[in-house]
């Protein structure tokens, strides 16, 4: 990208920001309303389309396809072992590794400025089902009774965090994609294999939820 174009984008962004700032200052309660909105959990009809737009953004930017789990393979390729599956130039996936670092930073920004102070607003039915399984904590994004460094040494902690992660990595590569690659990019491109994979995702998720979790938690 030429420096002049980059400057143009920068100046335009600053002008947009200043204009938004002026409007929010003039409108009665503008800033309070905006902060309120941002710190509330976003409804599905806002979040879903915003996530869907990632697909054309990546295609238009450089013909790239949205698929997060490819990064796990790139990380194995960085390790540079003798395994044939990881013998390729991982630098072709630098853009994707940078994207996933951005996701981490985005999570951090949300925590710092936009955190929701209320307990998670899951349905009452889920809350009571989970309480029956022994979940006592409904604050934050994950139940800290399991998802914490102390919880890591407990039986549930090992299944949820270690086994869970292992199966996510193994299954995503075997299936050739994860939620972003199959459920979003693949289904959107009307790929039948992706539909089969998504049905598999649900088969596995239902077995874990209704058969294994009651035994583990």
């Amino acid at each position: 990208m030429r420096i002049s174009r980059l400057l143009g984008v920068l100046i335009l962004s600053i002008l947009t920001f200043l204009l938004a700032d002026v409007i929010l200052r003039i409108a009665p309660g503008g800033y309070t309303h905006m902060i309120d909105f941002l710190s509330q959990p976003w409804p599905w009809y806002v979040a879903g389309p915003l996530i869907g737009l990632i697909v054309p953004m990546l295609l238009l930017l450089g013909g790239k396809q949205f698929g997060v789990s490819a990064n796990l393979r790139h990380l194995c390729a960085v390790l540079d072992t003798k395994v044939e599956f990881f013998q390729y130039d991982w630098k072709s996936g630098t853009w994707n590794l940078v994207l996933i670092m951005g996701v981490l930073i985005g999570g951090w920004i949300s925590m710092g400025f936009l955190e929701n102070p209320d307990p998670i607003a899951i349905s009452e039915a889920t809350r009571s089902d989970l309480a029956l399984l022994g979940v006592t904590e409904f604050r934050g994004l994950v139940p800290s009774q399991y998802f914490s460094w102390e919880g890591l040494l407990s039986g549930p902690g090992i299944v949820l965090m270690v086994l869970g992660g292992f199966l996510v990595g193994f299954g995503a590569r075997w299936a050739g994609g994860c939620t972003s690659g199959h459920a979003i990019s693949g289904l959107a491109d009307l790929q039948l294999p992706s539909l089969v994979a998504v049905l598999g995702f649900f088969a596995g998720g239902l077995i874990a939820t209704f058969v294994i979790l009651p035994l583990v938690l």
């Binding site: 389309p49 998670i120 889920t126 994004l141 994950v142 965090m161 869970g164």
Partner: protein, 141 residues
């Protein structure tokens, strides 16, 4: 790829991390709610994301829109083969998704949100990917 060309991907990642967090799709509770069919939230998110992505892809294909650098946009179709890899691999992934309560993208967003123990889950996911690479020649696909 030069560093300046990578900046847009970093920004897209940050945007995605914020949306992931604010829509709570990175929450173990929301994934449980989804697998128990007790709320529309996750279905609405995935469904509307697919619709928006599908319309965009159709437009790109129909008008033969090119990428910013001028190159043609090609989306290679996925090979069905015997289909085993999709249902079997998908099921394995689904088990992990319900246990960890997060798929690969949200794992990184959770670390950013201060759930640092998810670094262990990310390492486990890399280990799982590596194990797949090792046994791949012996697995049905």
């Amino acid at each position: 790829m030069g560093a300046s060309r990578l900046i847009p991907y970093l920004l897209i990642g940050i945007y995605l991390g914020i949306v992931f967090t604010k829509s709570e799709v990175i929450s173990w509770y929301r994934i449980q709610e989804m697998f128990r069919f007790q709320a529309f939230h996750m279905y609405g998110i995935i469904g509307s994301a697919v619709v928006v992505a599908a319309i965009s892809i159709q437009i790109i294909k129909k008008w033969r829109v090119r990428a910013l650098g001028g190159s043609e946009i090609v989306i290679p179709p996925k090979e069905m083969g015997s289909g085993t890899r999709y249902w079997a691999g998908g099921t394995v992934f689904g088990l992990g998704w319900a246990f960890a309560g997060a798929c690969p993208g949200p794992l990184f967003a959770l670390v950013g949100n201060g759930v640092t123990v998810m670094l262990v889950t990310i390492v486990a996911a890399v280990a799982g990917t590596f194990a797949y690479g090792v046994v791949r020649p012996r697995l049905p696909h």
